[in-house]
């Protein structure tokens, strides 16, 4: 057995303590960032050793952890007794941070061992155990533990049972101004509701809670994603599109978040299509998206062409992929957009076209339907045209010059607004040193001064000696 992971975990304990003493959450975040790499090295031996060296011999929490780790291992290679550890010295109770971190490690280990029932029970005990602590330095770790708790419930099909504890947790977190846990819980609630198909409850959560602005970006990205999904279901496409764009922008641009980006882009494409716009081709071309977005590319092509038959066949062919992404119902709503695009193309191509031809070209069922559909398109502002009922044709009106309207002004305004918001956000996101750093700064300044003097001295000195050295 290598000592690598054990040492790393112990190193992380030091970081956690540093975070505690320095009131600096960055160290905790650093530890959590190391989790994905660490999780592959975790095994029962590593965990056993960590637990034995961290918890006092007869601490109930430590014994419980050891029992879980040992029972997870079928071969029983881990001794359950604390006294089997080599340490003779009395170990002090671990700090709450370390305690929570060890619990989190065991959770992750259980998740990857594929023992959902055990994972779920342990997650429950872990949460109950950690509830007694009330320290802000714990927030990030506890938020993670909540996350794995809900994941466990999802795997064991217990989702409807987690809603009450989540609600209680949310209340506590809100009262304690625990932004990270609060944000995490809001997301978990939304996720549970959406998975349980309780969309109106999810909408209720959104309207009744506010997402803490202090929560981390990855949480905010997920929050915006769920927000967008709910808005899209409730037909509020323009807000949905804003929210999904925010989600895509907020997510960290690292390879680890590629899954989220793919899912978000899928939703984004459907929403954009529903708004009557065609998504950027670049999105489909990216190598990391090409395969996962293939069904959506087919869908986009059908909508763009305004071909109702092609659309129908794509919907049938890609039904399983769309259903797996929970986007099927949204995609079905695109039918009317396909017709509208078709009418728009016809209106742009012909200055006058008979209703019968429209009917044939768009594969509509009857001339009468066609007339109503075109009339509605005119009313919805899709096309600018007039129908002549007696002779049965549609006459397009002259295209007005867009630069004579307020449209460019409006678009320009939107862009300026976006740039301003970006500027404001970046100013807000800047980190400033805390006041007690001023002293350090002064010292550093002095040191720099000294250094400068030294440098000039040396320079002067060398200048003088230059001539001698040159000869050598």
């Amino acid at each position: 057995m290598t000592n690598g992971p054990v040492d790393e975990i112990k190193h992380n304990f030091v970081y956690l303590d540093k975070a505690l003493s320095g009131y600096d959450a960055r160290f905790t975040l650093k530890v959590l960032r190391g989790l994905p790499a660490l999780r592959r090295q975790l095994d029962s031996e590593v965990l056993g050793e960590i637990i034995k060296s961290t918890y006092p011999q007869n601490d109930p929490a430590g014994q419980e952890l050891l029992r879980v780790v040992a029972s997870g291992e079928a071969a029983g290679t881990v001794a359950t007794k604390m006294s089997d550890g080599t340490e003779d010295a009395v170990i002090e109770l671990p700090s709450p941070e370390t305690d929570a971190y060890v619990h989190l490690l065991v959770q992750i280990w259980l998740l990857h061992r594929d023992v959902p029932d055990q994972f779920y029970t342990f997650s429950q005990t872990a949460l109950a155990h950690l509830r007694k602590y009330d320290r802000r330095s714990l927030d990030f770790v506890v938020a993670k533990i909540w996350f794995y708790y809900v994941r466990a419930a999802e795997l064991t099909d217990n989702l409807e049972h987690v809603v009450p504890p989540l609600m209680a947790g949310l209340r506590t977190a809100t009262l304690r101004h625990d932004a990270e846990t609060q944000g995490m819980l809001v997301i978990l609630l939304l996720r549970s509701y959406l998975l349980l198909n309780k969309i109106s409850q999810a909408a209720g959560i959104i309207s009744k809670t506010s997402f803490p602005p202090a929560a981390s970006n990855s949480l905010a990205a997920r929050y915006y994603y769920y927000l967008s999904r709910v808005s899209a279901i409730q037909l509020d496409y323009s807000s949905a599109f804003e929210q999904i764009t925010a989600a895509i922008r907020k997510v960290p641009q690292s390879p680890a978040s590629i899954g989220f980006l793919q899912t978000a882009h899928k939703l984004s494409i459907v929403i954009e299509l529903l708004m009557g716009e065609i998504p950027d081709r670049e999105v489909f071309k990216k190598p990391e998206f090409r395969r996962s977005l293939a069904p959506y590319l087919a869908l986009t092509r059908a909508v763009r062409a305004g071909d109702i038959q092609q659309f129908g066949s794509v919907l049938v062919a890609e039904a399983s992929a769309l259903k797996a992404d929970h986007n099927y119902a949204l995609a079905c709503r695109l039918r009317q957009n396909v017709i509208k695009t078709g009418i728009r193309i016809l209106s742009l191509t012909y200055s006058r076209i008979s209703l019968k031809d429209i009917c044939i070209k768009l594969c509509l069922d009857g001339e009468e339907s066609a007339e109503y559909i075109v009339a509605k398109a005119i009313r919805d502002g899709v096309i600018d045209a007039e129908i002549n009922h007696q002779y049965g044709y549609m006459q397009s009106k002259e295209v007005t010059d867009i630069y004579s309207t307020a449209e460019p002004q409006y678009t320009f305004h939107e862009r300026i607004k976006f740039c301003m918001a970006l500027h404001d956000d970046s100013v807000k996101a800047m980190r400033y040193l805390s006041p007690d750093h001023a002293a350090d700064l002064k010292e550093a300044e002095e040191a720099r001064e000294r250094e400068k003097e030294l440098v000039t001295e040396i320079q002067e000195g060398t200048d003088l000696e230059d001539d001698d050295d040159f000869e050598l």
Partner: protein, 257 residues
């Protein structure tokens, strides 16, 4: 009266199609159920009790629809019935579930609660193929596309309804469809021959159309219906708007510098 006698009487009235009488009994039965806590179903109750309550509420919805109860009242009944369809209760699936869900969707559609309609639809998986659920789904699609002739057929022709209750709920939709057509026509035509307009708006008599035209400020002359032109909205940017956004930019730049 005990619950059993009440229920029995209710069922008899239902079978005799005496809906008003049955609707009168419904509140009493619900009160009895509430006393037993059955209005909040949980697995603590026996399956027989739950099934009986579910069946009774299902009948209740149908009865209320026939008795011409208000939409809000029917909506409330649906809300009370909903928990009984929870798969957690592990009851045998009700034969009427899809029919009642379809009626609920239709009710949302008549009240023009489209967002709610889609929220509900999202929770149903087999909407495309179900005999009952198909109806509101198709109707919504036709209304959204603008295929009003099909929508009109769906709400007026008897053969189109999967069950008689659907006919009662769609009555409100007729005027909605007509108003939609009128609104589209105002934009799409400058004028229409009287007979054609009557045909387009599905009126059977000329008098009805004249009355309708008056209500919408249309003028009828020379046997044509002239639509009042809706004033084009001001397209040019208003000076005030321009000034205020310029001032906003200026103050923003001020803060940046």
């Amino acid at each position: 009266m005990s619950l059993q006698t009440l229920s029995r009487e209710f069922v008899t009235l239902f079978q005799q199609e005496n809906c008003r009488g049955a609707a009168g009994l419904l509140p009493k039965i619900k009160l009895e159920y509430a006393k037993e806590g059955l209005m909040a179903p949980s697995s603590a109750f026996s399956k027989e009790d739950l099934m009986a309550a579910r069946q009774l509420l299902e009948m209740g919805v149908l009865v209320e629809i026939h008795a011409g109860a208000s939409a809000a009242e029917i909506d409330r009944l649906f809300a009370q019935l909903r928990p009984f369809y929870d798969p957690k209760l592990k009851l045998a699936a009700s034969d009427n579930e899809s029919k009642l869900m379809a009626l609920h969707l239709l009710l949302l559609l008549t009240n023009n609660e489209i967002a709610e309609f889609h929220t509900e639809l999202e929770t149903l998986s087999n909407a495309e193929n179900d005999k009952y659920l198909q109806y509101p789904v198709k109707l919504e699609r036709w209304l959204m596309e603008g295929a009003y002739d099909k929508a009109w057929q769906a709400v007026t022709e008897k053969s189109q309804f999967p069950a008689p209750e659907f006919a009662i709920l769609t009555q409100g939709l007729q005027s909605t469809i007509r108003n939609e057509i009128a609104a589209s026509s105002e934009k799409a035509y400058s004028s229409l021959p009287f007979a054609n307009a009557r045909h387009l708006l599905f009126f059977t008599s000329d008098d009805d159309l004249t009355e309708f035209a008056q209500a919408r400020d249309w003028t009828v002359s020379n046997g044509r219906v002239n639509f009042a032109k809706v004033e084009e909205e001001e397209q040019v940017a208003s000076t005030e708007g321009l000034i205020s956004s310029m001032l906003a930019y200026a103050s923003q730049i001020e803060t940046i510098i």
